[in-house]
Subunit: 456 residues, 2 copies
Amino acid sequence: MDYSKTILDLLKKSSVKIGDKILMTKSEKEYSGIVMPNTGSSECIVLKLDSGYNIGIEIDEKTHIKKLSEEAHVEGKMVSRKLQRIEKLKFDPKKPTIAILNAGGTIASRIDYRTGGVTPVFTSEELVSMVPELAEIANIRCKMVFQMWSEDMEPEHWQILAKEIAEEIEEGCEGIIITHGTDYLHYTAAILAFMVQSLPIPVLIVGSQRSSDRGSSDGAMNLICASKFIASSDFSGVAICMHANSSDNSCYILPACKTRKMHTSRRDAFRPINSKPIAIVDYKSEKIEFFLDYQKKDYKRKLILETRYDKKIALIKSYPGFRAEQLDWYEKNCNGIIFEGSGMAGNLPINILDDHTKHHKDFLEKLKKITEKTAVYMTSQCIFGRLNMNVYTTGRDLQAAGCQPAYMIPEVALVKLGWILGQTKDPKQIKEMMEKDFAGEIIERSELDEFPPNDL
Amino acid sequence: MDYSKTILDLLKKSSVKIGDKILMTKSEKEYSGIVMPNTGSSECIVLKLDSGYNIGIEIDEKTHIKKLSEEAHVEGKMVSRKLQRIEKLKFDPKKPTIAILNAGGTIASRIDYRTGGVTPVFTSEELVSMVPELAEIANIRCKMVFQMWSEDMEPEHWQILAKEIAEEIEEGCEGIIITHGTDYLHYTAAILAFMVQSLPIPVLIVGSQRSSDRGSSDGAMNLICASKFIASSDFSGVAICMHANSSDNSCYILPACKTRKMHTSRRDAFRPINSKPIAIVDYKSEKIEFFLDYQKKDYKRKLILETRYDKKIALIKSYPGFRAEQLDWYEKNCNGIIFEGSGMAGNLPINILDDHTKHHKDFLEKLKKITEKTAVYMTSQCIFGRLNMNVYTTGRDLQAAGCQPAYMIPEVALVKLGWILGQTKDPKQIKEMMEKDFAGEIIERSELDEFPPNDL
């Protein structure tokens, strides 16, 4: 999309081209940054600030711009670290082989300042030229699977990724890294742990909270720590590898079904929920410390691939004022529903008093009708801690209406139910499978004490 | 509800009455506890275990029961601490007066072991007989407002509470404590901060994670710390007072609009989100330490009471596979919608690829239609951190479709939108009010670094 004539004229007057660094003055405020291509429709110049973020600044008659430098090509930490052109990687038989599946997000992408576009990394050579340390740790075999943001991932993408994992194992490797957008990374980690069980080797999902053009980018270190962990430990199974804290010194290996993105921007946004991390990997040394037991690598172990998935499921969060009528669509269109209820008992507002007395019966009656043909499970919006639906009357009423407790965090309960419903519609089997621990998803009572402690 | 004949016969055979403590043997397992009245419909004896929890144990021919003691009357920490019958409290003019509004939950309730029922505390004398320390700190004036679980609270209840606060201030007091169920306590705290502004004195919402019959009950300490804080500090405004950690040594005073129940069962479940606590109150000493600035007490300050609320609002959490069609009911029935989108950009799955390409337009078209007559705001399911909808294309597309960022946690954005829509339906005014900080609800960039740190 081109800029408006007014903006193009202003740029031309100051001999500024897209990609140049400028100083812009408007209403006594100053902005310095690189002029990006137009991404909106309004009368704004889009600037990439030094922070790495883009802003659109509306221009008026008094806006003044001044060129600071030509085509700035500011290259971020990850891109610039030791940027080199690698024609062909040599295979080293003494090193393990790691297969890297590029499933999108910012991590395995490069930003082109002339177009403003994000370019995915397609080949092993491209990735190693961005993060040359990888080639020192292992033989890298890259494959482009998707180029997409993680919030757009659908069950079909999970199924493709699961099959890609099986293929890479078939082809032979010591471990797999999946590069992935962070927004819904924890959903993908959880479903892959269900779809690909009994893994002979590790499969680590790795993301980047800050893009490669920002000084604080975490992508390279997350990739290096994941590769080190694969090369130096005997862990097998699906896990997440992301920053352990906001310094660049270590990464956590996090349980696939007990991890959640808990911060919009921090590099250590992925936190273990109701669990310790599996391990911590030191960035600068060879040190790996384990906190949990795990299944060891066994190249002879046969993996179990079960990718069927029923998309007719939903996750519904309750809140004060939630009404039975809101369930109409779900009643008609879902084979499974996960509620995010309140507190320990996973309560829903079913006992509304005063002029709402009517709702009590409405809600339970509605629920009874839904559970006749739909699997309905409860989780807690507290996120941390285990459900107990037997303590309060409301929880018992809900159970009597066919809503059962799921001892998992809501996100994991959702994908597990979709996975189960892909295999069976038999209520007894569904219940047995929801209660069975397939991939470390069940919150144990003993884990109640894992909790983010005080800030102070 | 009576027990079945089989159970009544079994109890009779062993001369066991409801309220007696028994030892029950079934399939080589032993259970000891107090026989509670029947609360379910199945063939179960309900036992209150020493942990304070009730369990139902199904009986069969081999089940054996033995009476251990008659009408056990096990009294919990809070009830038994210094249980005394107080006929009439004496007014001490040297002490401040605290008004306590009982709005339900387990905190200001007593459990009757003979009936299994929870009895609310109605009078100041009853409360002081449970927690006699309160009378040493202040003159206590109690009022029963509701007896209900917090998950059943409706906007009408919030309105009543707001008006009760105004009345108590009118009548004269140095501070107000609202005893409240914990499940949706943070929703009530937030809405009261909007409904009752410019408070001359403190209003503290206090709950109890464990009921008064359990050894680990936290209710008494939370009440004592809240009273101390009111009596010894010059703070004014709405805040929450709950355990600071899982020891019985201090309580946090937490910001009304930046706190969330983050654990199903821990006593320190209420955590500050994107903020420090306001203060910490030592249980055993007089020590109070502040971490944030606050508005000081001023008995002459006139409070602003604005209790109008539009209930036609909804909170919707997105997830992989979320569909535009799910918004049908909300389109028809809501004046306001808060989305809990993914990550930093609050993304919704609008760019679905492959066979779903169609959904991209569907979703944005649907959203455009909805935002023509409905206020739609985005929050992040990360909970911690601030939204930035300008970083990614999806966020910009959503904004172009009329979905604006709300820089608040989802629960607070919901009640704030209901409160605003109660006052105006003018889109410009709504936007201005959503962006204005009324009660410390806006997440500032500088607060990004407040985050639950590592467990280890």
